[in-house]
């Protein structure tokens, strides 16, 4: 089965090539590159990925302008049809601004840009993105962001936790996120937004501070889930 993944590029995206490279490395099929001004997505997609970066220079709020771009109307429609959508870093910010995921990403509590590999605790596993992880295990994935401080009201946070929609939590202080939330799932588990960069952790590197392969399983999960469903 050829895996059809699309990577959306906004003006100011800077992790789109990394995302496409990770998808190709894991699936063996080149990702389809889609420009923000396109009105339509390719047919028959298995995955839509919104990459990291600083779309539209973070004008107004991180992800706010990208959420209004023509392609996002098509992404929202595809998500409503059940096409899996992964938003990483700025992609997560875009998904919250597009209201595909609840909450918002505020400036890091410490005001500083945080760029390092952090520990994450795996939580929500009822998702095609998560089947390769064990609940409660700790993985290591790099973060690189200034606006990663997850915020939602207490009622929303309770609902996310109650419904198993917290995908990952930080296992250490990173950015002041409410309840240490690093990634959240949609109600149907098919939209995942996360600040850490799994596409930067798809192969072991010579130095332990670089890379790692814990992000690879996220992409393998979605492939396995699709194969199982096919």
């Amino acid at each position: 089965m050829a895996f059809r993944a699309a990577v959306i590029t906004f003006p100011g995206s800077n992790c789109d090539r990394d995302m496409a490279a990770a998808l190709e490395a894991v699936s063996g099929t080149p990702a389809i590159r889609v420009w923000h001004g396109d009105a339509d997505l390719p047919d028959g997609l298995d995955l839509i990925a919104l990459p990291g970066g600083f779309s539209y220079g973070d004008y107004l709020r991180s992800g706010a302008m990208a959420a209004t771009s023509p392609i996002m109307r098509a992404v929202v429609a595809a998500a409503e049809r059940g096409v899996p959508v992964l938003g990483v870093c700025n992609g997560f910010q875009v998904l919250t601004e597009a209201r595909l995921l609840p909450g918002a990403l505020l400036r890091n509590a410490g005001q500083r840009f945080v760029c390092r590999t952090v520990g994450l605790t795996v939580e929500g596993t009822a998702s095609p993105f998560m089947v390769g992880y064990q609940p409660g295990e700790t993985i290591r994935i790099p973060v690189a962001h200034h606006d990663g401080n997850y915020f939602a009201d207490a009622e929303t946070l309770d609902r996310l936790e109650g419904e198993g929609r917290v995908a990952f939590r930080y296992a250490e202080p990173v950015n002041g996120s409410a309840r240490d939330i690093a990634g959240v799932l949609s109600a149907n588990g098919r939209v995942l937004g996360m600040m850490p960069h799994p596409e930067r952790a798809i192969e072991p590197a010579a130095h332990p501070s670089l890379g790692g392969a814990d992000g690879r399983r996220l992409f393998e999960s979605i492939l396995a889930a699709l194969s199982a469903a096919a």
Partner: protein, 77 residues
């Protein structure tokens, strides 16, 4: 017609920028600064007669993120 939209973080939403500016004001020797919150002023030049509901929709759809921000509209007729 000129309309000003003031966008502010809701009470209870942490404002790290405001906190940093607060500390900077104290560092400059200003006393009695109790709190600093940073918001955003958006000036809109709109066709005369643009109704309030339309401006409100602009705020809710784009100018403010109502998860974290509140807004007030000033100068609308």
């Amino acid at each position: 017609m000129q309309v000003r939209v003031l966008v502010r973080l809701k009470p209870g939403v942490l404002d790290p920028q405001g906190r940093a500016v607060h500390h900077a004001l104290e560092g400059l020797g200003f006393e009695g600064v109790e709190d600093v919150r940073i918001g955003r002023l958006i000036e809109l030049d709109l066709a005369d007669g643009t109704d309030h509901d339309t401006i409100k929709a602009m705020c809710e759809k784009l100018l403010a993120n109502t998860v974290i921000e509140s807004f007030t509209i000033e100068g609308a007729g």
